[in-house]
Each structure stands twice: as structure tokens, then as C-alpha cells.
């Protein structure tokens, strides 16, 4: 008997209803993550990674709306829960590390207060016990002098320190599912390695499940089990990390892997020429068509569907 996945997302669609038209930011996204597994979500800036993550938590900003799909956490469909229950799930079962720390930290509250609040609320600790545990969390995320640091306001911290405060807050409530949106963008590689070790430990010891959004393919390769590659609101390739890295099928994935800068490489960096299509336009063919290195006949006429090519490896492309 196979156990059902911890998180199962089916045909998720989230659109922005703006003055200038409908933006299909998340357009028919499906993936699943088993307990204790890490799925990496990668893709071009603006392709819909953060909006996918926010949709799972039902925190999509206006004028965005989830217009379709299902999101199962174990056996509960999050998109159909009453608001109060959803609030309980956020924070208790699912925690999120937001992409921009400054937008989610409260600028007029000391960081100690902000972490302690989570611990009081979700773990029922006293203020004193909460502050003590908060200091421990700061040490775990590599912040020195934690007791003194708890008295700092967010603006007194460096970019990477703020990011680590966000990580500490997310981990404070011991989530079943962690959504980490670019969690290490402000961290040097040694602190980054320390944070990734901490996350791996939580995964191994507590079977934490993780959705990891990152454009750092080194981090993805070393920490994820599966990968979903997004383009213009859709998943274009999906599979185990080994399969996708060693045998990328979609031309976007192939291009992306060729862009990896390596130490010691000084010449002009390769890019994928062109840019994301205007998400408001009604496009009939493949969304990657304009940038594709080898389109074929059906590409301009019909949108390809995602198709399993070999067990555990799917692609959305007419070439296969």
C-alpha cells in the first residue's frame, strides 16, 4: 500500500483581475510531496512561484483570486476549509518563509517579541519560556549574541540576519510542511550551508516536508528530492532531481541548466534570449514558443499538455 502524499496540489489556478486585464499567474499547476520529502520549485523571475506558494496558504494578495483546483494537506482540502480552520493550519501545520523579510517582519516590534509571540500562540509557552526558546532558535540559525539580539528592531539587522529571523519564526512552531521562498538569497555560502543542514536535520528527524523555491541550482541539487520547473504560470517539467538534472527534456530546463555560472568561467554568461510572454495575452500555442530552440509543427497551434515520459519524469512539450 502506498501512503498518500502529505501535500497534493491538483490543477491549481490563480489569476489577478487587474485594471489592464487578466493575469494568469498560476495556470493549472499540479504536484505532490510525500512526507519527509523536499520538492524544489524553480523558474524564471515572474513565472508564478511565489503566487503558487501563497495560494497554498490562501494568502494571495488582491486582486488575485484562486479560481480553481484542489490543495490537499493529508486529507483536508485547504481551499475549501472555513477561514478559522485555515488560520489554525497556517502557523501550526504549515509555515512559510517569505521571499522579502522586510515585508513580513513588523518594523516597530523587537524581533524577540515577534518570535516569542509565535511560540506563545502555538505552543502555549509563557513569555519567559518563549524568549528563552527564541534565543535558542537564533543560535540555530547562526545569529551570535542571541539574548542581546532579541532586543533589536528589524532595521538594526543586516539583510541576511533578517532573513534568518524569518527562518527562526517559521521553524518556531515545528511545522509539518515548510514553504521556503528563496530562503537563502541574502546569505553567504557558509551560513547558507549551516541553514540547509538545519533544514535537513528537521527533515530527517521530524519528517518535515518542504516546498523549496530557489533559483540557486546548487542548493536545489543538494537538498531536493524532486523538482518542478515553472514557466509562465505552468509546470513545464517535473521529476526526480537526478532525472531532471541529468536528462532535462524541456528546452527551458535545458537552457536554464546551461546558464549555470561556474567558478573560474570568465567569458560572457549564456542567457535564454527573449523574455516571459505577457501573461495577459490569450495565447493558443506553447507559451515558450518565442524562445524555443527547436519548435515543431503543433507548437504554435495548440498548448501542449504535461505528459509522463518515463516513470517519475514528465514534460509539457510537443517534442515528446
Amino acid at each position: 500500500m502506498t501512503t498518500p502524499p502529505r501535500l497534493d496540489v491538483q490543477n491549481l489556478q490563480s489569476f489577478f483581475f487587474t485594471r489592464s486585464g487578466l493575469i494568469k499567474a498560476v495556470n493549472d499547476v499540479s504536484f505532490s510531496i510525500n512526507q519527509g520529502e523536499t520538492l524544489a520549485l524553480v523558474g524564471e523571475s515572474g513565472c508564478g512561484k511565489s503566487m503558487t506558494a501563497l495560494s497554498l496558504l490562501r494568502l494571495l494578495p488582491a486582486p488575485g483570486k484562486i479560481v480553481g483546483g484542489e490543495v490537499f494537506l493529508d486529507d483536508r482540502d485547504l481551499l475549501r476549509l472555513p477561514d478559522i480552520e485555515m488560520r489554525r493550519i497556517r502557523g501550526n501545520d504549515i509555515a512559510m518563509i517569505f521571499q522579502e523579510p522586510m515585508t513580513s517582519l513588523n518594523p516597530v516590534l523587537k524581533i524577540g517579541e515577534q518570535i516569542a509571540e509565535v511560540l506563545r500562540l502555538h505552543k502555549g509557552l509563557s513569555q519567559k519560556a518563549a524568549l528563552k526558546q527564541a534565543a535558542g532558535l537564533l543560535t540555530q540559525v547562526g545569529i551570535s549574541d542571541p539574548v542581546r539580539r532579541l532586543r533589536d528592531y528589524p532595521h538594526q539587522l543586516s539583510g541576511g540576519q533578517r532573513q534568518r529571523i524569518m527562518i527562526a519564526i517559521a521553524l518556531a512552531c515545528d511545522p509539518k510542511l515548510l514553504i521556503a521562498d528563496e530562503p537563502t538569497t541574502a546569505l553567504d555560502v557558509t551560513i547558507q550551508a549551516q541553514i540547509m543542514d538545519l533544514l535537513l536535520e528537521l527533515k530527517q528527524q521530524r519528517q518535515m516536508t518542504m516546498l523549496l523555491i530557489s533559483h540557486d541550482l546548487g542548493i536545489v541539487a543538494g537538498n531536493a528530492d524532486k523538482i518542478a520547473v515553472m514557466y509562465a504560470g505552468q509546470i513545464v517539467e517535473y521529476g526526480s532531481i537526478e532525472k531532471v538534472f541529468h536528462n532535462p527534456l524541456h528546452p527551458y530546463t535545458q537552457g536554464l541548466l546551461q546558464c549555470i555560472p561556474r567558478l573560474g568561467q570568465r567569458h560572457n554568461l549564456p542567457t535564454i534570449p527573449g523574455q516571459l510572454p505577457d501573461l495577459r495575452k490569450q495565447l493558443t500555442g506553447c507559451l515558450f514558443l518565442d524562445r524555443c530552440s527547436g519548435p515543431c509543427a503543433p507548437c504554435s497551434k495548440q498548448m501542449p499538455q504535461i505528459k509522463e515520459i518515463e516513470p517519475g519524469h514528465s514534460v509539457r512539450c510537443w517534442r515528446y
Binding site: S45, S158, R164, E182, T190, I191, H215, L217, P261, D278
Partner: protein, 327 residues
């Protein structure tokens, strides 16, 4: 004469205890000296919290140093009044690390980019729109984005707006603080190529702060490595990668993750992370340094030239390199 010369900059912040009284100080930038020539890129790397952003803000006089001097094109900036500083504001730009809080939430992107062009009279009124669209396209955005507000963008799109704004006023020096940290590889490469193109065409100089060593190596002529407020190594980019001479630089190079799932994950640096409020004695790196001996706990190593363009602050320069793994 270098375009920018920074001498012995120092900045501390006062720390308060729970009663609100001053209790000790945090030395964020500690005796930093560097220079940048016209058309040159100086990379700045170091541990999170080591003082990189503070150094950038001190250079632009957005923060006032406790001590030290900043010279731009031969003029001393330290001590200038805000009014005297004004002509320099356009010539020196900063791309801020946190794009969201540096963009006015009540202005559309078009307005954000138009404003500096108008203030500095860089384009006649009828060409403004064209210039704005051109800037957007250069950073991989398009005219469709002109009427949107900052919150209507993704993280990486906002970061590119910050870059477009800095480039808009045709500065001589840009301090770019993690300018591509939120960008996927293809867009990142596109932006780096763009910054380098501007440099070739206009002789722009950059101070480039980034944590991605492959990026830093690619764009920089010289690289300064900071640790706990001080520069510990400074040399040209190739030398730094091939022949790191400070144990912290070596640890950084070893911690770069490899984009290949079969590869072992890099190891984190061992030892407790020191506090800038109570820095260790002697060499600040000694509690985590695999080469440390007694002298390291007692005496601070000075930043010294080991060759013409390679400075290092370490008592055991000649031993370092032993633990560097070749990738």
C-alpha cells in the same frame, strides 16, 4: 587617481539593554580602506552581517562614519553638508539590497523611473516615456509594466526596477548591494551582461556586493573579503579563486554548493559565530580557523601585502590553501 578612495572607515552602533540604557557598542565597520578606479569593479564578499551594506551606505554618506574619509574624484565627501553633497548624489547610485522597501509604494514604476530623469533634467519632456520604456526593456521588463505599482511585481521584477532606476541617471559609480540575488540564472546573466555593457560603454565603476561567488568572480576585477567588519583579503579575482590566502576565503570557496545532485553537500564552517559586540581577541577568525595557534588568540594580524596586488591579514599566510578542495 582612483575614482573612489576610502580611508580607514569605521562605524559603530550603540546597543541598548532592556532598560533602554546604552550597553556596549557594535562595531559594524572597522578600519576599512579600499579604492576603485574608473571603469573598475570591486567585488565585496563576506559573512552575513559582516558590514558590507554599512560600508556601502558610508561611502554614499547615507550613514555618517565615526572615523575615516571618503574621496570621490579627488573631493572629500566626509563632512559635506547635505546641500554640498547634492551634486554627487546623481554621480553615485546605490542599488539597495531590499528592493521592496526602497521603492515608493504609491508611485507606479513609470513614475519611479521618470522622477530622477526629471529632477536631473536628463531628458526633455517628450522623450521621457521613450526613455522609461527603454530602461524597462533593458532590464527584461516591458512597457506593459509601466503602470504597475511595486507590490504588483514579483521579487525579481522589483529588483530589476531598482537596477533600472540606478542606471537611469547615468552615474559614475554604482554600489550594487546583492543586485541579482533574487533572479533566476538566465535573467541574472542578462542583467550581469547589461551591467558590464554599461561599464564598457560609459566607463562606469561598480562596488558589487554579492554572496554568490561565481557571480562575484565573473564581474569583478578585484575582490575584497570582509569578516566581522574588517577586510581580511584583497586581490584580483583570479588570484582569489586560485590562490586564496586567508582561511575564511578558503572556507567560503569550499562552501559553494555544486549544481549536480550526485555531489556531496558542502560542509558548514564549524565553531561559534563571533559577535561584533564582543569580538574575539587577536584574530577575529581564530575560534573557527583550522590553522589557528596561540599567537592567533593573542595578536591581531595586520592586513599586509604578500605580493604586489594581494593583501591578507593572517599570521599563517603561507600555510593557507591546504584545506582547499579542487572542484
Amino acid at each position: 587617481m582612483p575614482l573612489l578612495e576610502v580611508k580607514n572607515l569605521r562605524k559603530s552602533f550603540r546597543m541598548k539593554n532592556s532598560l533602554g540604557r546604552t550597553s556596549g557598542q557594535l562595531i559594524a565597520v572597522n578600519d576599512v580602506s579600499l579604492n576603485v578606479k574608473q571603469g573598475e569593479t570591486l567585488g565585496l564578499v563576506g559573512e552575513s552581517g559582516c558590514g558590507k551594506s554599512t560600508t556601502g551606505k558610508l561611502i554614499l554618506q547615507l550613514l555618517h562614519p565615526d572615523a575615516g574619509q571618503v574621496f570621490f574624484a579627488g573631493e572629500e565627501l566626509t563632512g559635506l553638508s547635505p546641500k554640498q553633497m547634492r551634486p554627487y548624489r546623481r554621480r553615485m547610485q546605490m542599488i539597495f539590497q531590499d528592493p521592496f522597501s526602497s521603492l515608493n509604494p504609491r508611485m507606479t514604476i513609470g513614475e519611479i523611473l521618470r522622477e530622477p530623469l526629471q529632477i536631473h533634467r536628463l531628458a526633455p519632456a517628450r522623450q521621457l516615456r521613450e526613455r522609461v520604456v527603454d530602461l524597462l526593456e533593458r532590464v527584461g521588463l516591458s512597457a506593459e509594466h509601466e503602470l504597475r505599482y511595486p507590490h504588483e511585481f514579483s521579487g525579481g521584477q522589483r529588483q530589476r526596477v531598482g537596477i533600472a532606476r540606478a542606471l537611469a541617471v547615468e552615474p559614475q559609480l554604482i554600489i550594487a548591494d546583492e543586485p541579482v540575488s533574487a533572479l533566476d540564472l538566465s535573467v541574472q546573466a542578462q542583467i550581469l551582461n547589461l551591467l558590464q555593457k554599461f561599464q564598457r560603454e560609459q566607463g562606469l565603476s561598480y562596488i558589487f556586493i554579492a554572496h554568490d561567488l561565481a557571480v562575484i568572480e565573473h564581474v569583478s576585477d578585484r575582490i575584497a573579503v570582509m569578516y566581522l567588519g574588517k577586510i581580511v583579503e584583497l586581490t584580483n579575482a583570479q588570484e582569489l579563486y586560485k590562490n586564496p590566502r586567508h582561511p575564511y576565503t578558503e572556507a567560503l570557496l569550499n562552501a559553494v554548493p555544486t549544481p549536480d545532485p550526485g555531489h556531496p553537500r558542502p560542509a558548514a564552517l564549524k565553531g561559534e559565530i563571533p559577535s561584533p559586540i564582543d569580538p574575539p581577541t587577536g584574530c577575529y577568525f581564530h575560534p573557527r580557523c583550522p590553522y589557528a595557534e596561540t599567537i592567533c588568540r593573542q595578536q591581531e594580524p595586520l592586513l599586509e601585502n604578500i605580493s604586489e596586488d594581494h593583501c591578507v591579514a593572517c599570521h599563517f599566510v603561507s600555510r593557507v590553501g591546504r584545506y582547499l578542495f579542487k572542484k
